[in-house]
Amino acid sequence: MTSQDVNIGRNIRRMGAVEKVTGEALYPGDIDLKNQLWMKIRFSDRAHARITAIDTRQAEAHPGVVAVFTAADVPVNEYGLLIPDQPVLCGPGSSKPGADIVRCISDQVAVVVAETEQAAAAAVYLIDITYEDLPVVTDVFAAMADSAPQLHAEVENNIQTHYRIRHGDIEQGWAQADVIVEGEYITGHQEHAYLQPEAGLSYLDDEGRVTVVVAGQWVHEDQEQVAHALGLEHDQVRVIYPNIGGAFGGREDMSVQIVLGLAAKKLQRPVKIIWSREESIIGHHKRHPITIHARWGATRDGKLVAAEAEVFGDAGAYAYTTPKVMGNAHLMVCGPYEIPNAKVDTYGVYTNNVPSGAFRGFGGPQAAFAAECQMNKLAEALGMDPVELRLRNVLRDDSVMVVGTPLPPGVTLDRVLAEGAVESGFWQRSGDRWQRVPPNPAPDSTRRRGTGVAMGFKNIGFSFGYQENSWAEIELHGQAQIERVVVRQAGADVGQGAHTAFQQMAAEAVGVPVEKVEVVSHDTAFTGNSGSASASRMTFMAGNAIRGAAEAALEKWTQEDRPAIGTYTYLAPKTSPFDPETGQATPNFAYGYVAQFVEVEVDVETGQVEVLRVSSAHDVGKAINPRLIEGQVEGGVVQALGYAVMENLVTRDGMILNPYLSTYLIPTVWDIPHEVQSIILEYADPRGPWGARGMAEMPYIPLAPAIASALHDATGVWFDRVPLTPETIVMKLREHGIGVI
């Protein structure tokens, strides 16, 4: 059959949609087990201190309390996705030296387990902790100074990560430059604010495995982290995800997983925990605040000749995914442009702030903010249209990146930009000349409108030398004909609709209608390792794995196996890490490309910004399910809008002053753009399944600089800092004499 039109490219309804709308779908917090206990966590009260004593007697004596666990109870008291630098519980008596120090308020000190949630909540504050305060450092530059307190014994000057790029001859580049623009770009923390705060249960299953039911992004990584800390073999730990209420990178690191497993194992009873919103905001990492100094040069005819950047990321107290996030920022801070001479130094620096880690875009948005603002400033300095300037410089199939290698084949940056610009209606072209279409006039004299542009690229998969892989299994049932297909793939459906895409791709690969395909996922007991639902990798990686498994299963089917079972692990093309001196690398095997065009209205008296329209153009390679892609585009745009103009995490001395959604403001329906146009382009990635590329992070990447560009169009003033709160806008406008009557 020709199933192309039946399964791929079709807007089939997302699996579980009705259950989610009606409330039938179960999230970790909705599940209760017979005989279950409740857990409450005591977080650190200090940003940096040594715990000299913990007195748990009063808590243990509280009615209903079953147990209190501290650092001394954790078999291998450490965890970390890349570097095990964080104690599971901080305090004296630990198996790991140095674990008696709390380094941020996200650190967990003790857990109380009780018969009721109320008893646990009451008892957790009865734990008496004696702290010996240590000096607190929360500023990246202060943390790098020789006199700064050192957070981790082996890390000098708190520099967790340092990457370099030395490409071409930078001095020669400056000599060729007719125009040079320079800027300092500052971006803030961002909270993931997923709908479902952390929650979970743990129990021993029929086979005696420590089973953790939780919402995460990678069941096998959670399994690995729990097993490591509890000193167990992998197969003694099982991780199950029910429905996941959003993730965005915020569920990559551990939150409740290890302590739940610890308590269930020790007490041999089911244990449950639900975090409040405040606990969620304090207890998990944030987007890296990054400061970027950038200096770019171009010739008079608009050819980039030099770029220099220093990138400083606040890692917070622990590594989490900082080496990878800062690696992405390092790669992307020169933009998706061909620049023959470049010099970049990128640092990830420990401070006593809450840890920074994975968040949609993974360092890309911060880097794009600097790179795209630089491009827009260059366009102004050259008197050239910003779309035209980009088209003269974007990477193409034959160009070399600043890390000395080309992008993988199938580069479409030029087409994404040009087709997006035209389709958005914000730009018009005649031949090679491009021109902004002036926005509609604002309704009154205090408001001004402007349009802006920015673009971006983002890798698919982790890579940078890591061998990307993903496992899938396909089982074909029936006799003469295939009647039922079971696809096993552990990849997490965090709300993006990945399982629906799996179903569509499996149906396509086998050649049956989607209705015949059943997806089995989210359980380490039944699946191999499919990798993380991160880095826009799920469709690309799972799709290739499913394809391989289907091929193997069909082969068995023809050999009359019933059921016919095919298993396959897809290995992505090889990549390499940055060279420590020059940054030379083949960092990734696939990318997604995006360009955005926005119209904003700013009240120059009050500084309030309204984003009226956003057009987001994407090369997705092949849209497996166009409606799910639109959902990702709209969601990504709204999340990036919050980042750009609203979300302001206020910290002081490592404390979070607004750990509530009533004070940490995220967009509501009143704050989102009046219109988000998804422009979906399909230029096949030769390595992608059916040509598909990843796309989930791309709509986030260029929005903040596109808004800054539109604000400049409206007011003539550049804004180099996000969030662009009304206050920061007014103060900047007043410096330029705008908005004063």
Partner: protein, 300 residues
């Protein structure tokens, strides 16, 4: 988390007062709960043994106009005020302020009495009631009194009323007459969630040919621990021509007498001071324009 043990839905003022008496300080009034529940959830207020919900008491949920006086039940929601055509003409600033409180969900359940009893220095409804020179009928120690609204505010979040013993019943104020008008504007962020950075309610009365201010009442909040009138500016305006020059003089005086504070996650003092000027330049002329077209009450 359990926030209360018993919840009563009272059907009359008398029943409410009896419950409060019976529980002797252990029962607390809830009139919408959009502030109370958040405070309890966030741990700023302990869980309450008993809550007495007064939003179903008929006498507390009416909007009445008695000739030139408006009487507003304490449990009228912000949404109902926003949609009241009578109030749109006769208490314009109140309608405008209630229309921007919180988000739609908050406006549907939050009440004007709850807003006042919570005694925050920047309640939007409160700011307008102050500019309207409203009075509040309260029951304190079992006695009913009418009190000027500003007397209810004793400090940030501290009300004259003890919500475990006393009751706020209703408000009254003069409906706009010919040559009178009002306006409210605020700086907020963002549009969908509460958190006023600064709000400004203005009421004016012009002379017979609408050329001069006869009287004005202005409330800008938050600029102190409790809402207050900007009397220096009010006094200055009385008798002055309703011109651009007068407006600028009022703005200059307001910026001189108002010293806003920096709040940790709302705004800095310099921004607020800048916004005092922006708000007054918007609200005062709007109130003046409306005053010119207000019809007599009898002609409705």
């Amino acid at each position: 988390m359990q926030l209360w043990n018993r919840y009563f839905l009272a059907s009359s003022v008398d029943e409410t007062l009896e419950l409060l008496l019976q529980y002797d300080g252990q029962a607390r009034i809830i009139a919408g709960g959009t502030d109370l529940l958040i405070e309890m959830r966030e741990g700023h207020r302990p869980p309450q043994p008993v809550l007495v919900d007064i939003t179903a008491i008929p006498a507390l949920t009416t909007i009445e106009q008695d000739n030139d006086q408006i009487i507003l039940g304490a449990c009228v929601t912000h949404a109902r005020i926003t949609h009241s055509t009578a109030l749109q003409k006769r208490a314009t600033c109140l309608v405008e302020s209630c229309g921007v409180v919180g988000g739609p969900q908050v406006r549907n359940v939050g009440t004007i009495g709850g807003n006042v009893a919570h005694a925050l220095p920047a309640g939007d409804g409160t700011t307008s009631l102050v500019a309207l020179d409203a009075e509040a009928e309260v029951v304190i120690d079992g006695e009913r009194h009418w009190r000027p609204i500003l007397e209810l505010f004793q400090g940030p979040g501290v009300s004259l009323l003890d919500s475990t013993r006393d009751l706020l019943v209703r408000f009254r104020f003069q409906a706009h007459q010919p040559h009178e008008g009002s306006a409210f504007d605020r700086i907020m962020r963002p549009q969908g969630v509460a958190l006023p950075i600064l709000g400004c309610a203005v009421w004016v009365r012009l002379n017979a040919d609408n050329s001069h201010y006869e009287a004005a009442r202005i409330c800008i909040a938050p600029v102190g621990p409790t809402p207050r009138r900007i009397t220096a500016v009010e006094n200055m305006l009385a008798g002055c021509p309703a011109t651009e020059d007068t407006l600028e003089a009022a703005v200059a005086l307001a910026q001189e007498v108002i010293k806003p504070r920096t709040s940790k996650y709302r705004a800095t003092a310099p921004y607020r001071s800048e916004m005092v000027a922006v708000l007054l330049r918007r609200a005062l002329p709007a109130a003046v324009e409306r005053a010119k077209t207000t019809m007599p009450v009898t002609s409705q």
